[in-house]
Symmetry: C2
Subunit: 226 residues, 2 copies
């Protein structure tokens, strides 16, 4: 059993997405203590800025002699695509930054799409495999709030990860995560705590549900009442 | 008179956004031959990947001694913010890549937001100043087409450049730009040519309209019939 986990928070301490993702991972470990968890941490270990070279290499004619930079870019792309393609289940922990997709997450997607195996983005590359998407947003973006429609992250990720790559996506989302450190949001702190608790419970539920789904059939049968 | 032009195409030759932006620029030059045009070309001259350092520097406590990397990042951020804040009119030439905001454009936005003058993104930083947004999309995304709703670039740019920074945004958009090189799109080539002509005429009209608007009042009076 192989899990892939992507983190994107710039923060190591105090990151809500990391905390929620840890809860998912714990459920997976409980069911599969020996599973391999492949980690790609775009926040702590930024990818080098090799996208132009990766694109150039992917578009080059057969027989074209690649530059050293292109060779390095292509090798990194292959590594990223291998990680993604070889997993049985997925965990994405992505905060909303500046109302959209963090640029380092977008860079990761752009790089993968330059791999020949992933070049046609709309081909259900990971069709039906289970995934949890964990998100955190500093403010509130619910319908009726002043920021309704300002979250450009969720539609994009659902589109790429779900509609295009074909992942069976479950989400756990925390909002108002900046309430505790923002004086103007003081009146929202109770609500923020409730939302975080709800997101945490949701993350656990999704993690456990995927683990059950991945459990070998023989084991499932054993655990069912006769 | 000072114009700011941002390019983001990875291509130097054959770029539709560069071609359309040239048409806008030509209208401006016609009206203001001596104007300064400040150029930021994210495609030809990628920005270094300094966002984590820029964020860390912007969040550091007073008296914190900045690292060399943080100092360099902050200097670049100040340069980008200066370019943006000091212009009278704007031209953004941005292609749709992988159904969303190109990551190097997003990086540019993220960096600017770390400047103290632009930190509060929703403060109409450039309120009412005129801007042209030129976009190019390889496929068709019109209502009723299979790709309706797949353009995650336009809503984000309208939100940041228009709603948040306050620019008075006019757009010129070309679609089906890959029809000429994509066999499966052969039947769309005539339509693609028509759309490109329309986008070109729109770009010229927007450029001319902004130039007229920026013309000094005295000159405007002179040119009006008595």
């Amino acid at each position: 059993m192989k899990f892939f986990r992507l983190d994107a928070s710039l923060r190591s301490e105090g990151s809500v997405t990391r905390m929620l993702a840890d809860a998912v991972e714990q459920e997976w470990r409980r069911e599969f203590p020996d599973a391999q968890i492949v980690r790609r941490d775009l926040g702590r270990n930024p990818l080098p800025p090799v996208w132009p070279e990766a694109v150039a290499a992917s578009l080059s004619a057969p027989g074209h002699v690649r530059s050293d930079k292109q060779i390095a870019a292509t090798a990194l792309v292959a590594e990223l695509a291998d990680e993604l393609l070889s997993a049985d289940a997925y965990l994405f922990a992505i905060p909303l930054y500046n109302f959209g997709v963090p640029q380092h997450v977008r860079h990761w997607i752009d790089l993968i799409v330059t791999d020949p195996r992933a070049a046609d983005i709309n081909t259900q590359l990971l069709a039906g495999r289970p995934a949890v998407l964990v998100e955190a947003r500093g403010g509130g973006y619910a319908p009726g709030t002043p920021r309704e429609g300002w979250d450009h992250l969720t539609p994009y990720l659902r589109h790429i990860l779900g509609d295009m790559w074909g992942l069976d996506l479950a989400t756990a989302e925390a909002e108002l995560t900046l309430a505790d450190v923002t004086p103007a949001m003081e009146h929202l702190r109770d609500l923020a705590r409730q939302q975080l608790e709800h997101a945490h419970a949701t993350a656990i539920a999704h993690g456990a549900s995927i683990a059950r789904r991945l459990r070998p059939a023989s084991q499932t049968a054993e655990r069912r009442p006769a």
